[in-house]
């Protein structure tokens, strides 16, 4: 029985601590996943297959002692002399049953079943969704077994169509479509599980040396010609097979003889930033004066021709293995037991056709990994056993799978971003790097916090660069979102298929993120001189403006709060004067509240309310509260609202002002309004102005009341 690591161990507990302890030489930015798939080590009764498409390991437990025969898989690839380091595939002899255990990284529940033992298994793979199992036992045919409920359970077989051809392998391109690759071409079949038969959809003759399949992009790459360096890609999609344009890999030196010169071990296929690339590990050749091996990236577009686009300089020689994790190309180097990473989106040296990249970070080992100890079997050895990294028994699969055959583990490789922060000192480049990573948000925010506080406080120009990079990404998302909304709104009338809603990645760091995690904390702490605090806030606002992003009110509030705390009212005044702090009702109200400590805030606030043009009621209230009754009345008349205002409100204010003449004027104004609107100067009971009429009569006498004019 195989053992699962204890659940919930996202990080191998010992491993993390150890990693820190060794961080003296710098953090390890690569790690093996904490919950690997564990399988019984390869041994004479046991063989393991890896299915790239489903990322499953398949263990076949052989119940009769098997005979060893020569299938092989390999991992470490060295320059001049390819060394096969691993030979652990065992065959099955007839006359028994084979137990199969299928485990994957994603699906935690292993599938177990038995199948008839009909001979050595060369290749075994489930179709997508574990619907149909395909098993290759001979060079001429593939056997199928349905795993769909209520479908025929008997095995069925398909021989390859091409006469005298040998099947090199097969790949599932969907749940019911399969491609056979023979040494003479490829055959594309549809599997009909109910009929227990296959239907040939398409085939193509071509001499094949070896093949490679990238399940992510459904592309099969065939090595053709004698040298093997002409690669022919095919693309599969829902029953169709299309031939993409072939291309030639430039070999480092002209081969002396016409023998196969490009090995599949030196080629990998991976999707990087949504584009398919063929990665070619070009070894250091003594004849050329290159400083070491390099990885050459060929961009393989769906349409058009394949182009050499990037060169990743390894600056070393020896045995390498490739992975692609989080759009980064990871190159493991066995000799030094270190790995390096490359990001093709980072700026490199462009020579007109290709971009040359150096590795982003200094070479580091994968973080030390402890084999978890669990279960009664391990009682004897209490302490966790450190796992041998970069072991010669490692097998690497694309994009991010590492298998240790000798230990019986399957890991996915992970990039850890925290250690990167201290390894990449150029903050602009660091941001470029982080913004492209999947789980970047918290790390980016912590970098922002870090650059604002001692001891690693960044200069303002660095801070500006970082803000600009963040807001560039933020703006891109806002724009995508906006055009999506527009299309959706426009599309409601027409019945076009809806476009995909833009995905908000972690790289979208918006104002509320910055406010909550960085800026408010930073201004609270008050450890920086206020000049710096204000400069940082202004820099962020500048950056938002530069990308035409509407600034949120709480940022302005933060600026105002900081300025007020340091009595920098004149500065605040100037900012408002140039409308750096955009107008809004909340901001105007905030200013009003500052009037007692800074009188000009009153004027600034009124100006702002005026510009908003939706705050006329507020303006009247402000003026009335200052007993500027006449001004309020003139204002409301100026905007034509004087027929609907409450007379009582104005008369109240006029009375409070304790200015009889003012009261008289206001009273008369409303009498005239009454006359104009109703033909009578007296107030209606609904206006509740009785006490004001009484007061008016008291002060000015009854005869002062306006007489109704009659015509």
């Amino acid at each position: 029985m195989s053992r699962e690591p204890p659940p919930g161990e996202e990080e191998a507990p010992g491993g993390e601590g150890e990693g820190r302890a060794r961080a003296g030489e710098g953090g390890c930015y690569l790690a093996l996943c904490g919950r690997p798939v564990h399988f019984e080590k390869a041994n004479p009764v046991n063989c393991v297959f890896f299915d790239e498409a489903n990322k499953q390991s398949m263990r076949l437990v052989v119940h009769l002692l098997g005979n060893c025969c020569g299938a092989r898989s390999c991992c470490w690839v060295a320059g001049s002399e390819p060394v096969i380091l691993l030979e652990t595939v065992f065959a099955v002899r007839s006359g028994g049953a084979t137990g199969v255990v299928v485990k994957g990284l994603e699906d935690r529940n292993p599938i177990s079943f038995r199948m008839e033992d009909k001979g050595e298994v060369k290749c075994i793979k489930f179709s997508l969704g574990n619907k149909i199992l395909a098993v290759q036992r001979t060079l001429k045919s593939v056997d199928f077994l349905n795993f769909i409920p209520d479908s025929p359970q008997l095995e069925y077989t398909q021989e390859c169509k091409t006469k005298n051809a040998n099947i090199l392998g097969f790949c599932w391109t969907s749940s019911t479509e399969i491609v056979f690759i023979t040494d003479q071409g490829i055959e594309f079949y549809q599997v009909l599980p109910e009929k227990r038969s296959l239907k040939l959809l398409k085939n193509q003759s071509i001499n094949v040396n070896w093949y490679m399949y990238c399940p992510e992009s459904s592309v099969i790459l065939l090595s053709t010609t004698v040298l093997g360096n002409v690669l022919q890609p095919f693309y599969f999609k829902s029953g169709t097979m299309s031939k993409l344009s072939k291309f030639e890999i430039e070999l480092p030196a002209a081969p002396k003889s016409s023998k196969l010169s490009l090995s599949e071990r030196d080629i990998a296929m991976a999707t990087i930033y949504g584009q398919l690339y063929v990665l070619y590990l070009r070894h250091h050749s003594r004849t050329s004066n290159s400083t070491g091996a390099e990885v050459v990236l060929y961009h393989l577009p769906r349409e058009g021709s394949c182009k050499k686009t990037h060169i990743l300089k390894l600056n070393r020689t020896g045995k390498f293995a490739l992975n692609v994790v989080d759009n980064l190309v990871v190159v493991h180097h066995q000799d030094t037991e270190t790995s390096v990473i490359f990001d093709i989106k980072l700026k490199g040296e462009f020579d007109g056709s290709t971009t040359i990249h150096q590795f982003v970070l200094p070479p580091r080992s994968i973080q030390p990994y402890q084999i978890p100890v669990a279960g009664p079997a391990s009682v004897t050895s209490q302490s966790p056993v450190p796992c041998k990294l970069y072991s010669s028994s490692w097998i690497v699969f694309q994009p991010d799978i590492i298998i240790s055959a000798s230990e019986g583990y399957l890991w996915s490789l992970q990039v850890k971003l925290e250690p990167v922060v201290n390894l990449l000192l150029d903050k602009g480049r660091l941001m470029d790097f982080l913004l492209q990573r999947k789980e970047c948000k918290m790390v980016i925010l912590s970098v922002c916090s870090q650059m604002l506080s001692e001891p690693e406080r960044g200069s303002l120009s660095v801070i500006a660069t970082v803000f600009d990079k963040l807001n560039h990404e933020y703006k891109k998302y806002l724009e995508a979102e906006q055009s999506y909304t527009m299309v959706v709104e426009a599309g409601l009338s027409r019945s076009n298929p809806l476009p995909k809603r833009p995905v908000r990645t972690q790289a979208v760091i918006d104002q509320s993120d910055m406010y909550t995690h960085v800026l408010s904390v930073f201004t609270e702490k008050k450890e920086a001189p206020h000049k710096f605090t204000i400069a940082v806030l202004m820099e962020y606002i500048r950056s938002l403006n530069q990308f035409q992003i509407a600034v949120q009110h709480y940022l302005y509030e933060l600026v105002i709060k900081t300025l007020v705390q340091h009595n920098l009212f004149y500065m605040l005044h100037q900012f408002l004067q140039y409308h750096v702090l955009s107008d809004s009702k909340p901001l105007a109200c905030l200013l009003l509240s500052l009037e007692s400590i800074y009188p000009p805030a009153h004027q600034l606030s009124l100006d702002m309310l005026k510009r908003l043009s939706t705050a006329n009621d507020e303006i009247v209230e402000v003026l009335l509260s200052k007993h500027q009754v006449l001004a309020a009345l003139r204002f409301i008349r100026g905007i034509g609202g004087h027929d609907s205002i409450s007379a009582r409100k104005f008369l109240d204010a006029a009375k409070q002002a304790e200015d009889d003449m003012l009261f008289y004027t206001i009273f008369r104004f409303f009498e005239q309004r009454n006359q104009r609107l109703r033909g009578n100067p007296s107030f209606t009971p609904g206006e509740h102005c009785e006490e004001h009429v009484t007061f008016f009569k008291q002060v000015f006498g009854e005869q002062a009341l306006m007489k109704p004019t009659t015509f």
């Binding site: 000049k531 400069a535 202004m538 500048r542 403006n545 140039y578 000009p600 100006d607």
Partner: protein
């Protein structure tokens, strides 16, 4: 040939400075020691006894009027021939300025007859001029009291002599008007983004040149940013725009290829140069001496070096603590950091300004003649005054109209309430003054046969176009 013009020919003689003196009655309280009170007297040639007499007279007037108004003693004394202005900027330190009234010289029977125009001068205008004299002195020398503390009467006298000897020559009393009352600041209109870029530039410069304490930024002689407090900026702005900038205008007007330009130090990468401090950075003997200024004299009393650096139309003032002596090395560093960036920024501002001008409907020269002033931020705008020439700003309207403006202003300052005053002046001119909260607006209209309603409408139109973004009551 003046006589040939014949009788009836009038000649106007502008007001001139008769005398200017500073005294402190506490310095010579005893009889016979009166001379000790006098700290500065212009013109110096005046006989000692006359000096003492004039000072004594002022002292007496102030003392006498104090009995009627203990808190507000006399500010000016009107006489037929001249007018005296009193100002006590610091306790017991009195400044007095005597201005001769303007004269109309007439010829009667071949003989010149002088008619003094007693009511022409506006108290507020010349009181403000006198106050500015003090502010300017204080900006470059600190307070009177500070000088006394530094070295007694002797030092104070030296400083006063040194400063006012030159400064009084630059007073152009004949062209003083309402703008001198305001002593405002003209702000450069700018869009938000460019403004933020300037902010960013200033912050980065203050960071790189970490000894800089305050920065001010001007473009086209108009202020964009002041790190100084308002009152200090007000007087510094006056110094920059009426004295320093005009003196350095020539090389810019001369253009790139002129010989003056060619002699200018620096390099081809930028147009930056020092207006104060070293002229030639390549000269190892160059003197890095900057004017000293005094700010925040009410509380922290800071003494600063004033570095003014300019590239094209953009000027930056860097102020650093006086205890730190800027070295030639520092100046070179400043030049290499600020020069290229300021040059870029200046052309950015220029470009943006032109774009904005085009967007806002090719803002033609406004047909309105007006003066606007906001007491809150000291913002001042005038379409009446020509561009400031060295040391003078000339009004383009008749002095009589300017006087009406001054009168309206005096009326406004007496009352707190919002007000509006409309005056019908001679020959189809209307003068309108409006006061709303802390803002004042003066408009001069010239419309044939316009009536009050039409004038009011015109002013409303002006407010709607020029001041629609502020709360300015109609």
């Amino acid at each position: 040939m003046a006589t040939a013009a014949g009788a009836g020919q009038e000649k106007q003689l502008a007001p001139t400075l008769l005398s200017f003196f500073i005294y402190n009655p506490k310095l010579g309280p005893k009889e016979g020691e009166e001379e000790k009170k006098i700290l500065f007297y212009h013109p110096n040639e005046v006989e000692k006894n006359e000096k003492i007499r004039n000072v004594g007279l002022c002292e007496a007037i102030v003392q006498f009027t104090r009995t009627f108004s203990p808190t507000k003693p006399a500010k000016s004394l009107h006489t037929q021939k001249n007018r005296q202005f009193f100002h006590e900027p610091e306790e017991n330190f009195w400044m007095v300025m005597v201005v001769r009234n303007p004269i109309i010289e007439k010829h009667k029977d071949g003989k010149p007859v002088y008619e003094y125009q007693e009511e022409e001068l506006l108290d507020k205008v010349y009181s403000s001029v006198l106050q500015q004299c003090y502010s300017m002195y204080k900006l470059f020398n600190g307070t009177f009291l500070k000088a006394m503390e530094d070295g007694g009467v002797k030092v104070l006298k030296e400083r006063l002599e040194k400063f006012f000897h030159r400064y009084l020559q630059t007073l152009h009393l004949q062209s003083c008007d309402l703008l001198d009352v305001f002593c405002g600041i003209s702000f450069f209109p700018l869009d938000k983004m460019t403004y933020l870029k300037i902010q960013s530039f200033i912050n980065r410069m203050e960071e790189s040149l970490n000894i800089v304490k305050y920065t001010a930024f001007l473009y086209n002689d108009q202020l964009i940013w002041s790190g100084l407090e308002q009152d200090d900026m007000r007087i510094l702005y006056k110094y920059l725009t009426t004295s320093l900038f005009p003196r350095h205008m020539e090389p810019e007007l001369a253009g790139r290829d002129s010989p003056i330009r060619a002699e200018m130090p620096g390099n081809l990468q930028h147009y930056g140069r020092f207006l104060t401090g070293p002229l030639n950075l390549n000269d190892p003997e160059a003197k890095c001496r900057f004017p000293k200024i005094f700010v925040n004299t009410d509380d922290t009393y800071e003494e600063l070096h004033l570095i003014v650096y300019k590239a094209m139309s953009a000027a930056v003032c860097f102020m650093i603590d006086a205890s730190i002596l800027p070295t030639l090395e520092f100046c070179r560093k400043l030049d290499s950091i600020v020069g290229p960036q300021l040059t870029m920024l200046a052309s950015d501002i220029c470009e943006q300004y032109n774009i904005n001008k085009r967007i806002s409907g090719a803002e033609k020269e406004p047909q309105f003649k007006f003066i606007y002033f906001n007491h809150m931020n000291l913002a001042e705008k005038s379409t009446i005054h020509m561009r400031k020439t060295p040391s003078v700003s000339l009004a383009s309207v008749h002095p009589d109209l300017m006087k009406i403006l001054g009168d309206i202003n005096s009326d406004f300052s007496r009352i707190d309430e919002d007000e509006e005053i409309i005056v019908k002046a001679m020959s189809d001119y209307w003068v309108v003054g409006k006061k709303s909260d802390q803002r004042e607006l003066y408009v001069i209209l010239n419309q044939k046969n316009a009536n009050l309603i039409e004038v009011n409408e015109e002013v409303k139109k002006l407010c709607a176009t020029q001041f629609n973004n502020i709360f300015f009551l109609d």
